[in-house]
């Protein structure tokens, strides 16, 4: 190796290192690809359909049967069984056979026709939040409609037409428009952040691992010499082949999401491609920053891992950042994925002018140049470091 030096020599050296260890292939290609396929196929329905639900019909009359029939016709609800009493339905819920049930007490029809205002109840198992919320929506609509059906009968009997009846039963109606994702598609909602999140996790770990492996294996001196003791050159040349592979993986998920699955990309592909590329570079920059700051493979790798895993909840795509404690809200600024998520919302989901996202792009660039602060420590470590398990 002594004869060769310079940027491309290090690139070549790193490429053969990557090629010779299956670990790199597993973590740079297999792991992200597995997750890409997993998430996009797992939720391919978009919005869960035919969720198993039950009914306790103690009334067993024309009214209660019509409620059950109508509920079953909703796309998201499937009445799998009728239970004879409340306890039985609750136990079925504890066994996870149903996510919720409708309880129609005895005398519902009699009370309704004698205008005594009966009460029907909706129970859902909120341990499973998504099916519970979706079932609630169907059941609630059904309950209101059942009520309206009775009300309509009374009104039409008094001579009102349909329009007037609805105008009376529900004078003000809500019309809720979901901007950018009108289908309430969970795949759009989750995969758009989950796929880059997995990639970020792998970039952080692989970058930190490969830099520190030079120190652990005692090859760091050779590496520095090849770069003429220029640590910036050494690191950028070493990470270049990884950048190429990870950028290709980013391209893969972008093609899957916006090409194959046709998820909304309202400003076209370029803003997202730019964001994904910057996300890769920002994560590499952040990992180098950590790797230089902490001169222990295990500790710096632990921190990178923690950052990668934590970036999933803290990016705020499932539980909004504004709902978190203030300390964590402040912390969220330190995660590259957070900025990527904000760019995605602006550029892909809402399709607003890029100038609104300028700051988020800039923040990602800032992560890229972050290592300039402490990379000299890495050079020092390369000359003096000894590995401790």
């Amino acid at each position: 190796m002594s004869g060769k030096s310079g940027f491309w020599a290090i690139v070549k050296r790193e490429s053969s290192r990557m090629y010779s260890r299956p670990l790199y292939g597993l973590s740079m290609v297999f792991a992200p690809l597995f997750c890409f396929i997993f998430f996009t196929t797992l939720m391919k329905e978009g919005l869960p359909e035919s969720l198993p639900a039950g009914v306790v019909d103690e009334d067993n009359t024309a009214v209660s049967r019509s409620i059950i029939r109508n509920l079953d016709s909703y796309q998201q609800t499937e009445i799998v069984r009728q239970y004879s009493n409340f306890a039985e339905a609750r136990e079925a819920m504890q066994r996870n056979e149903i996510y919720g049930f409708f309880y129609i007490p005895k005398g519902t029809q009699d009370k309704a026709s004698s205008q005594e205002q009966p009460k029907i109840s909706i129970y859902t198992n909120a341990t499973y939040l998504i099916p519970s919320s979706l079932l609630y929506r169907d059941m609630k609509t059904m309950a209101v409609m059942a009520s309206a059906a009775v009300g309509r009968e009374v009104l039409t009997a008094r001579g009102a037409n349909m329009d007037q009846a609805m105008g009376f039963l529900q004078p003000i109606k809500m019309d809720l428009h979901a901007l950018g994702n009108p289908w309430l598609n969970y795949n759009v909602y989750l995969s758009n952040t989950m796929l880059p999140a997995v990639l970020v996790l792998m970039v952080l770990m692989v970058t930190c691992f490969s830099v520190h492996c030079e120190l652990k294996d005692g090859t760091a001196k050779e590496w520095m010499e090849m770069a003429g003791d220029n640590v910036l050159k050494a690191v950028s040349a070493k990470l270049f082949p990884q950048t190429v592979v990870f950028s290709f993986m980013a391209l893969v998920y972008i093609v899957i999401l916006y090409g194959y699955l046709g998820f909304p990309a309202n400003n076209g592909l370029w803003p997202m491609l730019l964001a994904a590329q910057l996300l890769i570079l920002a994560s590499q920059g952040f990992a180098v920053f950590i790797a230089s700051a902490i001169p222990s493979l295990r500790w710096s790798l632990s921190l990178c891992t923690l950052w990668g895993v934590l970036s999933i909840p803290i990016s705020g795509f499932s539980f909004p950042v504004m709902g978190m404690p203030e300390a964590l809200q402040a912390l969220s600024y330190l995660f590259p994925l957070r900025y990527y998520f904000l760019i995605y919302v602006d550029q892909a989901l809402n399709g607003i002018p890029m100038v609104y996202s300028a700051w988020f792009y800039t923040a990602l660039v800032a992560f890229l140049i972050l290592p300039l602060v402490d990379i000299s420590l890495l050079r020092k470590a390369a000359h003096e470091y000894t590995y401790l398990p």
């Binding site: 997993f38 198992n125 998504i130 109606k173 979901a178 709902g323 978190m324 398990p389």
Partner: protein
């Protein structure tokens, strides 16, 4: 004899665990702190006071009442009244607000005519919780206002009559088992179980990686001085079970208690369920730890798995709607059963018979992973990768000889083997 070996291995494994900071971090520190971080993160359960903007083209008493009442709900907060949609959109784009309430100019007019009036809501879909907050906030207000409007229209009837007219059948909604219907109550049980399984996998894999490194360097490893791979495997598993008995009682009992989450379990149920879960996880961890070639590669190989695993458990996207392939695939991980069982025992107060399926599956997993790890151990014993190959050959020779003589001979064989290893290392 074997019980002494078992306890011996167990003791050595425990000492090894305590003396390895890397493993201790996985076995103790991560389970200690990580769940607290998550519980803290989701501590507020739901989002309150989602900032929205109002565009009121009607400017009547009714429209103002609607906006005032929306602002007063716990779900929404009106941060600005805009003159037109353009201005409102601008606030959405700058992430100052997450929704728009638009009241058309003909609201009063339509109501006076007795027809149905529409209020338009626009919601930013970057988070489904914004959508949920807007839907529930505005629906609550509209239901209340609708009622009042009807009451006025029905003037002349008695109050009771009016009530019956406006809502012939009442309905009520009960979210069972997770009373605040929030994130903490639904996600934390899954996170807790996953933390247990994944830290076990990482810690065990790190130890295996360290052993593999030492083996490559030609140093001895624990295990070669005992007669039977089963005792080695059993001793290790016992050591992990002892450590994780403590870890699990903290993670599964103390953490939910600290954060005032529902805890409806009965102790015998919980213990009967958690033991097979831990055993399955331990043998699962041992089985896959053989893929690890060095100390730190466990991070790269196993951490990312947590992300799909939490979804495979069906706590988020419902199991009933997963493609069949993933539903079957999920069955090979103890966490799938662990999450489903624990979530129901802890949060819904399910009894053993309610989690029968999960319990049986966990015992099957325990058996299968035990067999797999035993198989690999046996091979490792016989392979020449082990520096103790001379010992294995000696053992085989012993088996061929008379058993009675063997008991006496074995000691000298081991001595001899050890001598040879020492000699080789000197070289």
């Amino acid at each position: 004899m074997w019980i002494k070996d078992l306890l011996d291995v167990c003791g050595k494994e425990l000492r090894k665990t305590v003396s390895d900071v890397g493993v201790l971090v996985f076995f103790i520190v991560v389970p200690l702190l990580y769940p607290l971080l998550y519980a803290y993160l989701y501590g507020r359960e739901v989002v309150h006071e989602v900032p929205v903007v109002a565009v009121d083209d009607c400017r009547s008493t009714t429209s103002r009442e609607f906006l005032r009442k929306s602002d007063a709900t716990p779900d929404l907060r009106i941060i600005s009244y805009c003159s037109d949609m353009e201005e409102a959109r601008n606030l959405l784009h700058r992430h100052k607000a997450y929704g728009v309430i638009y009241i058309p100019s003909d609201l009063d007019h339509t109501l006076e005519e007795g027809r149905q009036a529409t209020i338009n809501l626009y919601c930013d879909m970057s988070g489904l919780l914004y959508y949920k907050a807007m839907l529930s906030g505005c629906t609550m207000v509209s239901l209340e206002m609708n009622r009042n409007i009807q009451m006025v229209r029905l003037s002349g009837m008695s109050d009771r009559e009016k009530e019956v007219m406006t809502m012939p059948i009442e309905n009520e909604y009960v979210t069972m088992f997770n009373p605040t219907n929030g994130f903490q109550g639904f996600l934390i049980p899954a996170v807790l179980i996953l933390v247990l399984q994944q830290t076990l996998v990482l810690g065990v894999a790190m130890m295996a990686g360290t052993e593999e490194e030492r083996r490559r360097r030609g140093e001895l490893v624990l295990g070669h001085e005992y007669d039977n791979p089963i005792t080695v495997l059993g001793g290790k598993a016992l050591a992990y079970l002892l450590v994780y008995g403590l870890t699990a009682s903290y993670v599964l009992c103390v953490v939910p208690w600290l954060f005032h989450m529902p805890q409806l379990w009965k102790l015998p149920t919980l213990v009967t369920f958690v033991i097979p879960f831990l055993l399955a996880s331990i043998f699962f961890a041992i089985s896959i730890s053989f893929f690890v070639r060095d100390r730190e590669s466990c991070f790269l190989l196993f951490v990312f798995v947590s992300v799909p695993l939490i979804f495979m458990s069906g706590i988020s996207w419902p199991t009933s709607n997963m493609p069949a392939f993933w539903r079957v695939f999920a069955q090979i991980f103890p966490s799938t059963q662990g999450v489903n069982g624990f979530a129901r025992i802890n949060t819904t107060g399910a009894l053993l018979q309610d989690v029968r399926y999960e319990l049986i599956a966990l015992w099957i997993q325990t058996a299968v992973y035990f067999m797999i790890s035993l198989f690999i151990y046996e091979r490792l014993y016989r392979s020449d990768k082990m520096p103790g190959i001379e010992f294995v050959l000696a053992m085989r020779a012993r088996a061929r000889r008379n058993v009675r003589v063997a008991v006496r001979d074995i000691r000298s064989d081991i001595e001899e083997a050890a001598e040879r290893i020492r000699g080789r290392r000197k070289k």
